[in-house]
């Protein structure tokens, strides 16, 4: 698997990018609106100014007279410290003001309406307002144009201030949006993480469907996962069944071979021939046990999936195991001793627990020297029921013993003894399915191993 960048980071970056774009846009819009508002305010005052001046226009003895009202200029001074220029002209004749001030707008300016224009005068950009009025002079109407211009420093200052304010707000908005993007990315990825956690929490052999509510986008993934696990489970079950079938098919002919060998052993007098037959019987026994363990293993895998929870008495279980393995032990002059107190009940699958205990006991007998004792102790304490199997064999050689629970792993000192390495694995699988565990320890007094099956009490 190759990790190609985080979806969360990409989502956060994408959302932050969108926020940055929106912040920039809003800043631009607010700045432009602020400038327009400031310009409109200036236009209004300029319009009022030209109108006030134009209202004083009057004919007097054939001449056009006017007076500049004080308010026409004081209102311009009130909004900002901008420079002011003006001109009043009748046709081409300048009546007063700055003669070279452009009046803006078409020539001649249509009468009665204030026209605005942006231009330059004395090296500075100015806003120009013009108003033309018809005044009767010598009984004919003369168009008189009043023009007032003002520099735009005040407008720039106001819109600059607002633009700076908008910039600060946009940055704040952007920072908040980035924080929210991060939270949003986390929130939208939470279902994915939850499903991942649910899959990670599962046991190694748990192949049940996920059965969780998933968002619509994740439903196909969960469905595919479920189907994959279904197929995997089916395939595992098939191979277990195949192994069980195979083991079963091997065991039956082996039993026949063993029976025939026993009969031959009784019939043959020749010592060398008997010896060969005994070796044959032992080899058949080993093969039979290995096949049995393979069958056990398959059974464990199969039954653990749908574990039954019937009450099982551990003492009873131990007694039956001892009875079953008594012949094997006797063959090697090993004494099996059972120390069971009161009834110790657990809930579980009697077949599996029996198989686990037999494998452990079988191991103990196999690795014990001849003429020793293997002791089974059944007891309960602190909500735990235990069967301890103690032998007087070589023990675990002081090495960490937990890896022996893995499949086909055998101890370093087990060479020379026939074995598959499956026995402890089967026991461990069974105990895990029951919520318990197998504990391996060196015996505290004397030599030998102590293998404990620990289960929660019923």
């Amino acid at each position: 698997m190759t990790a190609t960048g985080s979806i969360g980071r990409r989502l956060t970056l994408l959302l932050a990018g969108v926020a940055a774009l929106l912040s920039l846009l809003s800043w631009g819009m607010v700045s432009s609106l602020a400038r327009q508002a400031a310009e409109r305010a200036q236009d209004d005052v300029l319009a009022a100014s030209v109108t006030t001046i134009a209202e004083t226009l009057r004919p007097e003895a054939g001449e056009i007279r006017l007076e500049l009202p004080y308010s026409a200029f004081s209102m311009l001074g009130a909004i900002s410290d901008d420079r002011v220029f003006y001109r009043v002209s009748a046709g081409d004749r300048v009546l007063t003001g700055y003669p070279d001030l452009p009046h803006g707008g078409p020539d001649p300016i249509p009468a009665g309406r204030v026209l605005f224009e942006t231009g330059a005068y004395l090296g500075d950009p100015v806003r120009i307002a013009s108003l033309t009025r018809l005044v009767l002079a010598d009984a004919r109407p003369v168009p008189v144009t009043v023009t007032v211009a003002q520099t735009q420093d005040g407008v720039r200052a106001v819109s600059g201030d607002l633009s700076r304010l908008a910039a600060i707000l946009s940055v704040a908005f952007f920072l908040i949006a980035v924080g929210l993007s991060f939270v949003a990315a986390r929130a939208s990825l939470r279902p994915l993480n939850e499903i991942t956690q649910a899959v990670l929490r599962r046991g190694p052999s748990d192949l049940r469907p996920l059965r969780r509510a998933a968002p619509a986008e994740l439903a196909p993934l969960v469905g595919a996962l479920d189907r994959l696990m279904g197929r995997l489970g089916l395939s595992i079950r098939r191979s277990e069944e195949f192994i069980a079938e195979a083991a079963h098919r091997i065991r039956t002919p082996l039993a026949t071979v063993r029976a025939q060998a026993e009969i031959s052993l009784r019939a043959i007098e020749d010592e060398a021939g008997r010896q060969r037959l005994r070796r044959m019987i032992r080899a058949v026994d080993e093969s039979s046990r290995s096949a049995g363990q393979l069958l056990d293993h398959a059974t464990v895998a199969f039954r653990a999936e749908d574990l039954s929870r019937a009450p099982v008495d551990l003492a009873d279980l131990a007694r039956r195991a001892v009875e079953a393995l008594e012949p094997t032990a006797t063959l090697r002059d090993i004494d099996l001793r059972l120390e069971a107190g009161s009834a110790t009940t657990v809930r579980g699958d009697a077949v599996l627990l029996d198989s686990a205990l037999r494998n452990v006991l079988d191991n103990a007998i196999k690795y014990s020297p001849e003429d020793t004792t293997v002791t089974l102790q059944v007891h309960a304490a602190d909500g735990q029921a235990r069967i301890d199997v103690l032998d007087q064999g070589p023990g675990f050689d002081g090495a960490p013993a937990e890896h022996l629970l893995a499949r086909f792993k055998r101890g370093a000192n087990a060479t020379g003894i026939v074995g598959s390495g499956l026995g402890l694995t089967i026991a461990a699988d069974v105990l895990r399915a029951h919520g318990g565990r197998v504990e391996l320890a060196q015996r505290s007094e004397g030599s030998g191993a102590c293998v404990s099956l620990a289960l929660p009490s019923a």
Partner: protein, 341 residues
């Protein structure tokens, strides 16, 4: 060679000096070769302490101080003559120079400390606020109550025409830029101005170009009352030294207060030096600099300025009465009122 250069400089200087009417002039020679040329309307006796203070702090700078009338100052600066500083009490003319882009901006902490009404656009800076006052000869008012308002003054003059005939003085607003500024602002603010002008016109008034001459005329008994005199410390000092013979009266109600302002002309050779001089003036105006300064401080608060109790506002409205049409109309009306012979 050096002599030739000096001769050339002297020739050029005298040629330039001849181009306008110089009322007074002083040169404070500095140790270095830098020169600060100041064109001003303030009399030397009023302004000398400022020159001396600057010279004491900058002994290497040569100060060239030229006194002209406010109209001359306006004309000279407009013509582009090389002066580094223009100081005038005619706010309207100063404002027009700045509005027309003939002044350079100057920024410094000292001018930043000025109140908002004491500066305009980093180009005009006020350093003194001076009220228009009436100066009276006490003995000519014997038996009469001293006027505190324009109405009082109108009543007194109207009721005693024989006592005041030929003994009333005011600015000839046709000649004096400052007189014109006082008159137009007063006419705008109060109706009493025209009534007062009418009453004065009937009393065969004496017309003057300058405040100094009017104060002198009151002091030597030729005038009983001089109206709209620039009430600088000089007038106050004269009133104190006269032992009560001369009094300065400030009309209540509306009071005209003008700002004496400085600006750096566009053609300035030494704008940085001029800026330093302006900084010094601004500090004296705010009394942030120790010393006994002859011109009154910028003592008004922002609230007073907003309520029109403060000085005349520096703004485009000042240009209204400079408009030739308005000026012609105003002068016609003024002549009708004041000249009734």
């Amino acid at each position: 060679m050096r002599l030739a250069c000096l001769a050339l400089c002297l020739t050029l200087w005298s040629g330039l000096a001849a181009a306008f009417e110089v009322e007074d002039q002083r040169r404070l020679q500095g140790s270095g070769d830098r020169v600060l040329r100041i064109l001003s309307t303030a009399d030397l006796e009023v302004f000398a302490p400022y020159l001396d203070a600057f010279h004491a702090e900058n002994p290497e700078v040569t100060l060239d101080y030229v006194v002209v009338s406010s109209a001359e100052l306006h004309r000279v600066i407009r013509s582009g003559a090389t002066f580094d500083l223009a100081i005038s009490s005619a706010m309207d003319l100063q404002f027009q120079l700045a509005n027309d882009g003939l002044a350079r901006p100057h920024r410094s902490p000292a001018v930043d400390a000025l109140p908002s009404w004491g500066r305009w656009r980093d180009v005009i800076f006020a350093f003194a606020a001076e009220p228009a006052v009436a100066v009276i000869a006490t003995e000519r008012f014997a038996g009469l109550p001293l006027p505190t308002t324009r109405q009082d003054l109108i009543a007194i003059l109207r009721d005693n025409p024989d006592r005041f005939r030929g003994a009333v003085g005011t600015y000839d607003v046709r000649e004096s830029g400052l007189g014109y500024l006082f008159a137009t602002q007063e006419a705008r603010e109060t109706d009493a101005y025209w009534r007062l002008s009418e009453v004065m016109g009937r009393l065969e008034p004496q017309l003057y170009c300058c405040s100094g001459e009017m104060i002198d005329a009151v002091a030597n008994g030729r005038l009983a009352v001089a109206y709209n005199v620039l009430g600088s410390y000089a007038a106050d000092r004269l009133a104190r030294s006269s032992g009560g013979r001369v009094q300065v009266l400030r009309m209540t109600g509306f009071s005209n207060v003008i700002l004496r302002t400085a600006l750096i002309p566009q053609a300035a050779d030494a704008p940085r030096l001029a800026g330093r001089f302006i900084d010094m003036l601004a500090e004296t105006g705010l009394r942030a600099r120790p010393g006994d300064w002859p011109l009154p401080p910028l003592g008004h608060t922002e609230a007073q300025a907003a309520a029109r109790l403060g000085p005349i506002r520096l703004g485009p409205a000042l240009m209204v009465y400079l408009d030739p049409l308005n000026r012609r109309a105003f002068l016609e009306e003024w002549e009708n009122a004041i000249d009734q012979r």
